[in-house]
Symmetry: D2
Subunit: 306 residues, 4 copies
């Protein structure tokens, strides 16, 4: 606890200072720099540092094209062009660094994005705190019948109560065992035993324990992360973080954010078979002979409301 407070204090002291810089700035992001956005029950996301803004992307692209400065409208249109044509390198020129506190099972999904840089709190060096992710009861759902990796439908209230109780007890029990192994339960008078090393004591902790890390990523890979982790197939608990970060992205690079929604988050990839299918629809032709899968037709129906 004390250690976290120290880190917090240090960050706060920094965040009061302002410095002069010749670097480009992102004014709306500056306003929330170091600010902690709450996520789940004990987690948070905060921006620690960043490099570049929308204009840096435009400038990097224009080195390639050998062109000079243009008006805002043209910047917007260039960014849209770059994103829709998958010119990724100009977006790699911007970086953002977060401090994130998150449950370990979320961290295990998150870390699969290998193009980021990470410094994680080490439970070999330090002792974890008594903080566990306990889902909000409304998030407790049964296994989805159709989606092998998701949840949907409802549990009844008794079931929810039972499950909440199990989740809470498991966290409490595990943490007591962790403390016992470490020999940290100080009230036990006169005991003389030695504790077990930290790197082994921690193995009793459950996957809903909280960890924290510094996480830095460039804008291109950040958008890839957001697209995958804000997707409806992503687990709810990581989507909570993705949503916060999308809002942070909006403050950082508003033009890119807009292009990202239009060309990525809210876009649709049509397979060659789906193209044929839509083409037939448009021309009033039959789709009897198209080889498109039922799954893809269902998706098209939903999106185009036919």
């Amino acid at each position: 606890m004390k250690k976290n407070q120290k880190i917090q204090k240090e960050i706060d002291s920094v965040s009061k200072n302002k410095f002069l810089t010749k670097r480009v700035v992102a004014p709306k992001l500056e306003k929330v720099l170091y600010k902690s956005f709450k996520a789940l029950d004990h987690g948070f996301v905060r921006v620690i540092d960043y490099m570049g803004n929308d204009s840096s992307i435009v400038q990097a692209a224009r080195v390639s094209y050998g062109k000079g400065t243009k008006q805002l409208n043209q910047d917007k249109s260039l960014i849209n062009y770059l994103l829709s044509h998958r010119h990724s390198t100009p977006f790699e020129m911007n970086e953002i660094k977060f401090h994130v506190k998150l449950p370990i099972f979320v961290a295990r999904q998150w870390i699969r994005h290998r193009t980021a840089n990470v410094n994680e709190y080490s439970a070999r060096y330090s002792i974890l705190e008594n903080e566990f992710y306990i889902p909000n009861p409304k998030e407790l759902k049964p296994q989805s019948k159709t989606n092998n990796q998701g949840r949907s439908g409802d549990l009844d209230e008794n079931e929810k109560k039972m499950y909440m109780k199990v989740l809470r007890e498991n966290s409490k029990d595990s943490f007591e065992k962790y403390n016992f192994l470490l020999n940290q339960d100080d009230d036990e008078v006169n005991h003389k035993r030695q504790g077990l090393t930290r790197e082994l004591s921690r193995i009793v902790l459950p996957l809903n324990s909280y960890t924290q890390w510094y996480w830095k990523i460039d804008l291109h890979n950040f958008m890839h992360f957001l697209a995958l982790r804000f997707d409806e197939h992503a687990q709810y608990e990581i989507r909570v973080y993705a949503e916060i970060m999308i809002n942070i992205m909006k403050k950082w690079v508003p033009l890119t954010y807009e292009a990202f929604l239009k060309n990525r988050l809210d876009s649709l990839v049509l397979s060659s078979e789906a193209i044929e299918f839509i083409k037939n629809k448009l021309h009033g032709k039959s789709n009897k002979e198209t080889k498109i899968s039922k799954r893809e037709i269902d998706e098209l129906k939903k999106i185009f409301s036919f």
Copy 2:
């Protein structure tokens, strides 16, 4: 259990077959292909596929140099030269793919090597088995006094017994809760309740639960992984895996293995201050004015026995 057995069966059926190939082969590695090497109590390492052998490294280097084939002796000496001069690209031309079963806390250290490719068993899709890493009692040690991230010294037998009991109970309790949440405890007749979705049920599982993955890496990055994870500062449980894999490396690329021991595993980096220190020693001069740290002197004393 059934699923694991299926995968095993499938692998075994493949491993009986032999095919003709024009690709280069690594004869000693072929002999242990698909073979499972036991690690810790329930884990294993097995090689699933590989690409290249020592000759591929030599061949890649010689494209750069525009030189033709040489004798074995020259191959050995070229590989030694490449490794000692940190010419990494020829070693990147070889790949190896493993199937590994390992505790989650080990997987969390392992995954930090971002230059590998991974497919992990997903507890969102599938149910984890009742398998937990329970350390051998002789591995239970107190926190090291000098090494903030290690263990050293001894616990007394009573302490060990207590701690073993806690580790076992925690695993057992957590797995029962996991099963209860999933509603998998089938003997409970007539119950009608719905289970909790897999992606949330799993969060009660402790960090000593076993997971498994396919893990593929090129030889250059593999050596980097081995150097870090076979190091004495690495946690014992991951060193067990690194040791098995070093032996596999020996079967795969024996010349590179030898050069790797000589120039990496058993090598020493001298700082500019340590160079000065050794130079003075060799010339019988005083080291009073060298700025070398006490920590580095101690290390030099140990290695050079003075």
Copy 3:
């Protein structure tokens, strides 16, 4: 020249041998292993090694899902699912290694794909041969009026002749100067001068000089490379290589190849505005208020023929 011939001989000698392996094989690819496919006037592409086939992708995916073997039909459908849902990790489990000879200006575009491994012939170590890319006259075209980075339209025959002459002369002149600097023009009797170092002599060589390299990439990144470099916006000279490699991909992983055409090469990304536009079309509504760009409408018109 001699050096190249040596490398060729060495490869040929290897390619006659066949070995027994327990690894999975790609039978159609084995047939063309080491075979040189001609590209442009002096270039080539040949496969030197590979790891995995379609079944390796399926197997890697099934580790994640914890599922056993399925029939071919299900493999095909799983691969299609993985590709269309951008599950990239199973495709990263396969690797392919090429030996490529290509003009330097093509190599400069190619190398921008950073996720591959490369060993290039070094003109600091060795002397480049008298081989330059001289375009086929039918490829000589004026700058495109609409595409800032392309060619289109026609030159007249006189212009072509002039330009061919300039291209040929420049190559010849530069190579003579290169040889003069290196002091390689042996017929000049009795001269005593020293040549200039190779690493400086080469700087007179033009961008249409040929170089060669070993290039290794995983299947996921290979598809990304192919999608970008087979695109109509890519320069003709690199597209020639991409086309050869797409045909090689077909021999290596036929099921993935099919899914790649359907979901990537011949697919279409609709922006949120294009979705709205098509939806209106399908429902007979006006598109007056959609904010879609003229450029995107033109693209849709072409694809859907309205």
Copy 4:
């Protein structure tokens, strides 16, 4: 020319402005931000943006260790510890972005560092300027007798004159041909011919043509780049750039710079055989039986002066 001037003007206008930021700053680097450091005859290096300073590295490391702020001395010592123990992740938390103008043959070596981000001026879009790297006569040397990839020794003055003439002529001739192909030689009255497309015209340009790019890299990989490119085996022309950048690094992260010199640039790796050799030397024992190579002994002799 006009385009370059435009870019320059734009950068200058930015560089006059100062903004308030809550981010950490590197005061000495701020002073030279956007400033162009001349390299070779027409090249330059300038810093366009950066993220983090020495304190960011310390902060990232302390997240791992869960420790609070320390004094400067301790920061210095921590950075030294991190660097000497190859803890690379805290250094990955800082980024720097350069605008570099450099000859194409240098760019071809530079780009092999795949861990950086690049946006290069495209000769498909734009026309290259009449700027070529012409070495200073004192850099003209013969091929080294001992180093297959280097130069050493001296040419006589007549040879130098001849070679300078060839280098200048080749650049001039090629540029004239480039202009002719593009049909840019405007003084030729009344001509009606069409030029050849830019993407083909450029292939007559030699490897000493200048290109430019934006190049961004994290501090860990930057140090790797500097260690390789400032090495005496690197080609002189790229070492000129590395030297400028090492001085920039000193302004950016002075504590890391110091640790980098001590533990990397001026360090020495001893193989297991070299350790044995030195140990015998220190204890006055014979080295007859050590298997150390002559090359390594020679290196040790030079460094330890025995």
